[in-house]
């Protein structure tokens, strides 16, 4: 562990994590957040941060399938739980349908909110395979995006849901999918 004066008085603990189906064991100060552990200790830098105060949703990861803000979670709380980050979303070399849809439909511009947005979207589709537009908006309202204006993200989540569940009925009839600029 790296030398730190300020942390000398804080307890460093042996911590066990299950992340993306793999086991990790590290020694780290207990006051570090899960976000810091992921990015700095485990080099899983795919998880981003926009405020580190729980305001923007950028650092969202899944714990036992539920979206949480990793900047507000202490590692001691998640011992023995299953953590999923953007790095674990793909299955082998096949990206998750959400990742493909985000990449293909303009849902990622600068890409910085994308990992958090993807994790929230996965949690949504895992719990509701056929969300309508309002449900998608409601579920993802805690994840800010400053580039897209959200509409292409909505389209990507909708497209991924349809891919994952081909028999799904179409949404609630709102015409955001119809834009004259959209290639048919």
């Amino acid at each position: 562990m790296k030398h730190s004066a300020s942390q000398a008085t804080l307890t460093a603990e042996r911590l066990h994590f299950r992340i993306n189906g793999e086991s990790y064991e590290i020694v780290a100060p207990v006051n570090k957040t899960l976000l810091e552990i992921l990015r700095e200790d485990l080099r899983l830098a795919g998880t981003k941060h926009g405020c580190e105060l729980g305001e923007c949703g950028t650092c969202t990861v899944l714990i036992d399938g539920e979206p949480v803000l990793s900047c507000l979670v202490l590692p001691i709380e998640v011992q023995g739980h299953e953590i999923l980050t953007v790095e674990g979303l793909a299955e082998g070399d096949r990206p998750h349908e959400l990742q493909i849809a985000f990449a293909e439909l303009g849902a990622a511009q600068c890409g910085y909110c994308t990992p958090g947005m993807l994790m929230s979207s996965k949690a949504l589709l895992d719990s509701n395979s056929q969300p309508n537009t309002e449900e998608i908006k409601e579920y993802l309202a805690g994840n800010l995006c400053r580039c897209t204006g959200y509409l292409q993200i909505l389209e990507a989540v909708d497209a991924a849901a349809k891919k994952l569940h081909p028999n799904r009925q179409s949404g609630n009839g709102v015409d955001i999918w119809k834009s004259s600029a959209r290639e048919t």
Binding site: K2, H3, S4, A5, S6, Q7, R39, E40, R43, L44, A45, G46, T47, K48, H49, G50, L53, E55, T58, T85, V86, E87, A90, P95, Q99, I100, F102, A103, E104, L105, G106, A108, Q109, C110, G111, Y112, C113, T114, P115, K137, E138, A141, G142, N143, L144, R146, C147, T148, G149, Y150, L151, Q152, L154, D175, I176, S179, S180, A181, R182, E183
Partner: protein, 818 residues
Amino acid sequence: MNRTNYSVVGRSLPRVDGIRKATGQAIYADDLTLPRMLYGKLLGSRRPHARIISIDTSKAKAMPGVEAIITGRDLPVKYGILPVSEDEYPLEIDRVRFVGDPIVAVAAVDEMTAEEAVRLIEVEYEDLPTSFEIEEGLAGVEETSRIHDYGPHDNVHKQINLEFGDLDSGFEAADQVFDNMYFYSGNNHLALEQHSAVAQYGADSRLTLWSSTQTPHYVHKALASVLKIPASRIRVIATPVGGGFGGKSDPFPHEFCAAKLSMVTGRPVKITLTREEVFYAHRGRHPVLMNVKLGVKNDGSITALDFQSFVDGGAYGSYGVASTYYTGALQTVTYKIPAYRFRGVRIFTNKPPCGPKRGHGTPQPRYALEIHLDRVADALGIDPATYRKSILVDEYSMTVNHMRVTSCGLDECIDKVSEGSNFNSLHGALPPGKGIGLAVGSYLSGAGLPIYWNKLPHTSVDLKIDRGGGVTAKCMQIDIGQGSDSVLAMTVAEILGIDPADVNLVCADTDTTPIDLGAYSSRVTFMMGNAAIEAAEKLRKKLFAAVVEELQISEGALLNGTERLHGANGQIVHEVNGVPTGKSFSFLRAVELAEAKFGQLSSTGSFTPQKLGGPYKGSGVGPTPAYSYSAAVAIVSVDLETGIVTPEKVWIAHDIGRAINPTLARGQIEGSVYMALGEIFMEEQAFRKGQLQFPSMLDYKTPTFLEMPLVESYLIETNDAEGPFGAKEVGQGPLLPIPPAIANAVYDAIGARIDELPITPEKVLAALALQEKGELPRVGPNTLPDYQWPVPIKIDPVWYDQPPEQWVETQRRDDSKC
């Protein structure tokens, strides 16, 4: 003949960096970790305006884990993005000018130690009189309390008085004169990625800086000047920018400090700003108080426009001189204005420095002008769409302030959104509490002039073909989310007739890539696109020359156009009069033949805008190779009980020239609409004694999924004569018509004018209360500072009905021949 049967251009292909970003594989600046890396922190001023009496770093220095501490005396060279206002130190030496102004930088073994060390630093201040408001800085400031010792007087940074044509005659010829004030509030870019930089000064005395910056070239120049290291030994690499919007276009203190701390310690140093620090580093939208005086004939035609801007600059120059000119430059490129006066003044205040934000200095005047025209149309009894259509500039014309207009699809933009929204039937006819509004806008496809004076190219693209058929494209441009990587790959692929996936990009690295000035002023697609076409055409020529020999095609027939070679889908196809002859050649084989014939296949293309702009000081701000145009309609509902305004739907048409990638173009439009909605409804930088009231995302509200209305976008393709494949910008222009369209819709809904941002429920209720009392139902600024403007510079107009020779000579790009 202009080719339209493109094989790559015009297709909504996935963005080239999309899957990397969606899998967490894109590496942003803060994701970088180097061996033995230290973490830096800046100490910002706690006072809005003060002399620094002493700085005591002894306690911090004594802390275990603290490796270096630097102050302003370690970096005593001023810098600033504009050569006319180099007024910042990386760390201020003896004076601070806003809360947050950096004073000390610490490097420690981890971030927490650095933070604690910063807390232990003691700074003794001697407070100086403060100046927070526009009026305070215009007059009566004591010499010793001036925020800067340059500028014409008091806290005035820049003053402008330009008069084009005969203003007095213009107003005399008017049947009616409309005079009103407007205020556009300041706001932050709020890119989700906080600024971050990693510096590594090696034992070989070479410095590398990885930074989240939109302008690696300008950072490179500034580092060389401030650190006093030859530029040849500095390498700046821009990492993928996690949102820019103009907020990462200046060189920043954390970049200089990371570099200096690395030089002092011999170890890599990373500095990432906190969200609060980003709010103070700022460089966001300038708050602007404006007065619009417009003379019109009874038919609505404009006889004269007199525009005044009072620009609240914050504590430093930044891009402010350009921003101030921009508040007066583009009023003329949408409507015929025969006489025009622009007076603008920028005032230093003890607040975070303002700078360029999406639209740079033009959303504020556009907001004022478009509400103003809504008033005129209302008074003249003409519907706002028909009215605007009757006064539009002509394509390929010249404005009174010497701006050259080329392609202009504004008329069609207005038609599209009017038809789409059924504007003409709904305007003035919706039930109380519901309203529809229209506005237009225009923006640059790149500034006509570079930031520092030179005659050099603004951008260059190097290409190299590998024997395996891969094409490497190098350019200093940086993708900030706007999709410029995709534009580069698709442009090269189109010309060479290959799959964009076979184009490998090396970008934004001052060591390995040729110049591009940066991701600002919506310049990249237009300028880099043209450079990429030139480079790719050079290589195509070699490939075709090699193929001609092999296929035994006569070069004469190719030259006179009856026969052509056409590259598409990895094949070079021979056609006679547009019909394939069956003779074809694979790209890979052509590469082999061409390399055997010519040697290594490399090429360079560059782009320098032609000389534009009038014969007057300040004419460098406003000209561009091509203006984009937009029109928007918004429908809002106003809750008459609570004053809450909800945007229900937005229609927006944008003259993009040509959409190289329609999905990405639509993303820019929708993102612009979103950002504008944040500005008009909720984003506001509020201060208390120089302290930001909301330096957090919790309190500084931005629209979420739930606040975003439906947006119907239309791409209008006018095929600009000089744009790459006819393309113009789309990254910034679509923001411009939204705030005034919303304001006009609110007026249509409640019959009251809100003439200042943001439109809050309180203001709506205040306007309704005035209406109730029978008073003028308007909320907005009522007084204008009584400012002694400098003597005007009078400039003869160029009449818009005389096309200058250069356009007549302009031939539309013919890339159909080989």
